[in-house]
Symmetry: C2
Subunit: 745 residues, 2 copies
């Protein structure tokens, strides 16, 4: 596993950094375009003045709170001839321009403006191995302004990632390509998370940085920082306006995630035009309020050294995340479209592409990467391999000294669970005391936390209602990042996206998060990204119906369970008791590429005869039946808290001589995946007398009960009253089931 060449490389890099740390101010001036002229927004900012001047003082300042890491020295002080940097930056610009032009679709403006910071990040700063995009200790990069994905594709291409070849750039936004219209981690190795919906990426980045901080705190040793990487993000004006970014960044500040460095592409243009029409707040001041270190790079178009110095300063600030506001010109280089919304989201057009080529002095054919640029970037293949080998060697040393920790960390890195982990899940008998599934969920979480070292999570300020505390652990906080209870505050949307970042950081990290089920509405965009980007987040959603009672209709989910059954790649569970809750957790843990939502009750529920973990794994199954020959008179189908009601109704009907089957329909998705024979064994086609009961919208139930069946549910909003009263008034009762069944059989 170890490699001696890596040590050589490290020394070589260091030597080069020292020899090249000369002044490089005499670079060519690329004065094609002025920076955008704005209103008083910036000059009035106190924050900016301070940080800007302190940044300028940086070269003469020594900041040694901890021994300076090799990484910082290696990366930030690498210097390349500025002419070559500019050539590389223009290569990035034109790859983006050409790809968008060929697709006649896409967003050239951001890549043209952000190419300088992109170049510096991927060429000088970040540590990665292009031939193994999944190397554990790589720096993470998130393009939160995902529409600018050609920036990232161009960088991955130059850096030598196999996922983005020249033909991939040429098939940008085409069917089956690895270069879709927004970055998708499941399509393009090297892309960490799925972005595009604005604000998600920066929240993912907070999750990635949390994961690094947490694992570092748990596994690093004084003599071996085996977990040690940065998380970088680029976000735009759009991301800044979204509430989710404020939520996530408030938490990042609270947690003091010093290795999170976010670049704010301050280009003053959004789709509707100049941001002056809707966005005149002082972002700097807001981020200071959020507890971030803020730096302003005034010239993001050509100020390479400014960008480098800002990154160096950001790395030196270890107790706060850093926002580097980089003022850029959107569409930099385009003589007629730069600094306007017209360059944001459309191809430049052949004429303007030509004009831009002339303006930037770019004589090359579309998609051409000049040889010297190619040669310059080619070193990353060897360097990346060496970085990984070096880390492997370091890990081998670590493993020798810290056997247990190494084994555990390895299991997290690989996503391996200990054999028999599922035996930790509690099981119940009908004699076990009735309990709310939210409480049973807490028993599962606490049992699992003992056997799954990667399980961590928390609630959006409802820990004691959602019952999500891991009792043997403390809180993940700035001073205790090794702990596993995460306190998200009342920030559901940020919470979901942070969990996506955690899940996508490392296969063995299993984030869970919690709020009231109705408040999935606040975080639905994050949940959808979990589903799309294959992030196996576990959503613990309690207070799942009118059964929560007095809080009333604002807090009572009605349409939510249907709305998630309609969402692709989600596992929507509504467990009825302890065994079903345990079953839901078993499936949720095993599904690392499919998020799970557990809808759990506030109210106590009986432990039902016939429920089982195995049943849950099939999605729908018979819990009791007095029929024979697969020909019941009627099938009663329930989920969650209403399965008990179905069982009660069945007892009554059986007393009257009916052959009644009771089916738990805990997860429609899992049932859909069963064989036709199994489905027929549960819901025989010949039996059309079917009654469903669920304290939720009946929308969709016709699929299960057929045209002749009867769905008992709630197709209006809830009410504020004690739960039992609402159940009765809304007709969610055994009597209603019995009456419906009698009509059908």
């Amino acid at each position: 596993m170890a490699s001696t060449s890596s040590l050589t490389l490290s020394q070589a890099l260091l030597a080069r950094a020292i020899s090249q740390s000369a002044d490089n101010n005499n670079r060519l001036s690329l004065s094609t375009l002025p920076l955008p002229a704005f209103s008083g927004l910036k000059s009035t900012s106190r924050a900016v003045a301070t940080t800007s001047s302190s940044r300028r003082r940086l070269p003469t300042r020594q900041y040694v709170p901890r021994p300076i890491r090799a990484a910082a020295v290696e990366t930030v002080d690498i210097t390349t001839e500025t002419s070559l940097v500019e050539k590389s930056v223009n290569t990035i610009r034109f790859l983006a321009i050409d790809a968008v032009e060929k697709a006649n679709s896409g967003h050239p403006g951001l890549p043209m403006g952000c190419a300088p910071m992109g170049h510096i990040l991927y060429d000088e700063v970040m540590r990665y191995n292009p031939k193994n995009p999944y190397w554990f200790n790589r720096d993470r990069f998130v393009l939160s302004a995902g529409h600018g994905c050609m920036l990232q594709y161009a960088l991955l291409h130059l850096a030598g990632y196999d996922s983005v070849q020249e033909e991939d750039l040429k098939s940008f936004r085409q069917w089956g390509s690895r270069t879709p219209g927004h970055p998708e981690n499941f399509e393009t190795p090297g892309v960490e998370v799925t972005t595009g919906p604005l604000g998600q990426g920066i929240a993912n980045a907070v999750g990635l940085a949390l994961a690094e901080t947490h694992l570092a705190a748990r596994y690093n040793k004084p003599d071996s920082e085996i977990v040690d990487h940065y998380t970088y993000a680029i976000l735009g004006d759009g991301c800044q306006m979204e509430g989710i970014s404020n939520e996530a960044c408030s938490l990042a500040g609270h947690w003091g995630l010093g290795k999170l460095i976010a670049f704010y592409d301050d280009n003053h243009i959004s789709i509707d035009g100049d941001t002056e029409i809707a966005f005149t707040e002082s972002v700097d001041t807001r981020f200071e309020g959020l507890g971030w270190h803020v730096i302003w790079v005034k010239n993001g178009n050509t100020g390479y050294d400014e960008i480098r110095a800002a990154i160096k300063e950001a790395k030196a600030v270890k107790d706060k995340p850093t926002l580097i506001k980089v003022t850029t010109t959107i569409g930099f280089g385009s003589p007629n479209k730069a600094n306007s919304y017209s360059v944001h989201g459309s191809a430049l057009g052949a004429k303007e592409v030509d004009a831009t080529r002339k303006n930037l002095g770019w004589p090359f054919e579309p998609f051409h990467v000049p040889e010297d640029v190619k040669k310059h970037w080619s070193r990353h293949t060897a360097d990346g391999a060496a970085l990984e080998a070096e880390w492997n060697s370091k890990f081998a040393e670590y493993e020798k000294k810290y056997k247990e920790e190494a084994a555990e960390l390895k299991s997290i890195i690989n996503g391996d669970f200990p054999t028999g982990w599922e035996k930790a899940l509690p099981t119940y008998t009908p004699e076990s005391p009735a309990d709310a599934t939210r409480n049973l969920s807490q028993q599962c979480l606490n049992a699992l936390a003992k056997v799954l070292p990667g399980l961590l999570g928390g609630s959006a300020d409802l820990a004691s209602s959602n019952m999500t505390l891991l009792k043997m652990f403390g809180d993940f906080q700035k001073d205790t990042p090794e702990e596993r209870n995460v306190r998200f505050g009342v920030r559901e949307h940020g919470m979901g996206s942070i969990c996506n970042g955690i899940a996508l950081h490392t296969p063995g990290l299993i984030p869970y998060c919690a709020t009231f089920f109705v408040f999935t509405d606040y975080m639905r965009a994050a949940i959808r990204i979990s589903a799309l980007s294959e992030a196996g987040v576990i959503y613990v959603m309690t207070h799942d119906s009118i059964g929560l009672g007095e809080d009333g209709p604002t807090h009572q989910p009605i349409e939510h369970v249907a709305s998630f059954r309609a969402m692709p790649n989600i596992l929507m569970f509504r467990p009825a008791d302890g065994n079903e809750t345990a079953g839901a957790y078993k499936v949720a843990v095993l599904n690392r590429k499919r998020p799970s939502i557990l809808a759990l009750s506030r109210q106590k529920l009986a432990q039902l005869p016939g429920t089982s973990i195995e049943g849950v794994e099939k999605g729908g199954y018979t819990i009791s039946d007095n029929s024979s020959g697969n020909k019941p008179d009627v099938i009663l189908i329930g989920t969650g808290s209403e399965l008990e009601i179905a069982a009660q109704a069945a007892e009554e009907l059986r007393k009257e001589g009916k052959a009644v089957r009771v089916v738990s329909f805990v997860s429609w998705e899992l049932f859909d995946e069963q064989s036709d024979a199994y489905k027929e064994s549960v819901l025989p086609a010949a039996v059309s007398a079917r009654v469903s009961i669920e304290a939720a919208s009946t929308f969709g139930w016709e699929k299960i009960i057929g045209s002749k069946g009867k769905a008992i549910g709630i197709d209006r909003f809830g009410a504020s009253a004690p739960a039992g009263k609402i159940y009765k008034e809304y007709g969610i009762t055994a009597e209603a089931v019995i009456a419906a069944a009698k009509q059908l059989c």
Copy 2:
């Protein structure tokens, strides 16, 4: 309409204000409880120091940017014996304590802490008429921290609102009561908006303030400020953490909504305990960054004059909204539970209620309002009537001078539309050019804006994609608040809630807002509140399927249309062409108590024979049919962009001799409301051969097509490619419809 008594009253109020403006510092000190002792959070705040000291200087400062309005003088300088104020404040506290205790459910902590500011607002500051909660020019109050609703119920009760009698307080959180668990405008006159889901209320308040500013700019005259009220809100730590509040407050700052005054109940406690565990940002600094005026009231428990002075200062700042951070003790007065999470969301318990009674010196029975308190508050009935009469008189004067403006304003106030307004809607023939429904939507919006003076709205930074600009109007901005295009920036959630505020401000205001349909995920909580609180917002949601093409799966809705069909009290439209778009707008405008969502295409669609506004009004209707006797061989059912495909398939099938009916299913909810006879005429029970086609999740379609039908749709995520290619690869084609139809008939 005019009343001379109102003038008398106004003079009387003024006289009283002058005579009572003496120093009232010698009030009794209620020193039962210290303020919570916090960490360094506040002392380090630069903002606080400045604003606090400037607030102290206020009495000696003259701020006369515009002539001082009577309201400001009348309200803030009213003084009452402090002992009576304290008695009133304790009445509020104990009404809350007693109601929660009786219900054994609810949130006593906030009302106990916020009673002082609540008292000052409702007794001294706000202008309202308790006997007409819908008086147009009333001050609006929003309890964004809706869980503390007993504060508002107690205040409405004291103020003389008929909606909250003693028996209502005693039936708090009970079935059928007017005092539900969170404030609901549709249950309790006097409650302006529905709150509880955190952050919604402050965003609603921004909408209410926007509405006032807009109407004032349009209708006020130099000699008559006919629209002139404030919007007050109380928000808590939870609201502050939610992203939506940052979105809405950023806009409020941008728009300079000077008559929005928000009280931040800074009690440092949320459900999970001390906010130090998750919320350590500087709210003051953030709000300064957002462009607000920030004031800190350090003693919100007994600092009545501090609160009064802060309100006075806030009113004097006319170009910025004001955040008054009021430091309070949650559960103030409870000797053992104050300043802890245990008082947040549970009844105190009999023992602690007794202890609190002793501690605050409250000898009275539960629900008792002392006579002197009752007497003191009783003046609001007469005062309120006089305020309204005075305004009516003012309006009568206004009407004489400004006939047209008065008529228009009156129509907005009453929610009356001009006769024949719907004739402004465009109609189309099959010969009309094919067009995207987003473009056809813009034609409708622009046509309606001419005849509906209350129509205003905009997009979340996608105006040119959503096609939502009203071409004859400019932008609603700080300097042009009379304009009707609202620029929301990339803030979908805030946008939705702001529109709820606008809709609930005045019946004739018809707000619309827009983004890509997939991003309803960002604003779903706001849309749900529209539906629940009967706010007839029009949601213009374009790019409604894979038909948007290259942007890919992050931008392509799949489950969204199903998810809204499952939501109560929503009208979900997916129009197929120009006539259907016009029909959707007609229904949307008429439904002032039910929000509408229009899912609109990015791509061009043919104008289809057979579509009509009248058809849309029925939700589902036949657009073409070659069968007779209501017995088609097969029924093809489509929505939106796929109706065209269904029509194409029908043509082919008819060529082969089949009797085929094509049905547009543009709004399921409207179809559900039709008579059984009508439904049978469209979907005869005898015809089970039914094929649906919709480029979206098939979830729910079994209801329409029955067990034997075939639903063509998309039950996975989309893809990035040109739209035509995706349609083909996903099988959303006429060929697929034809094949399915042939299997069935």
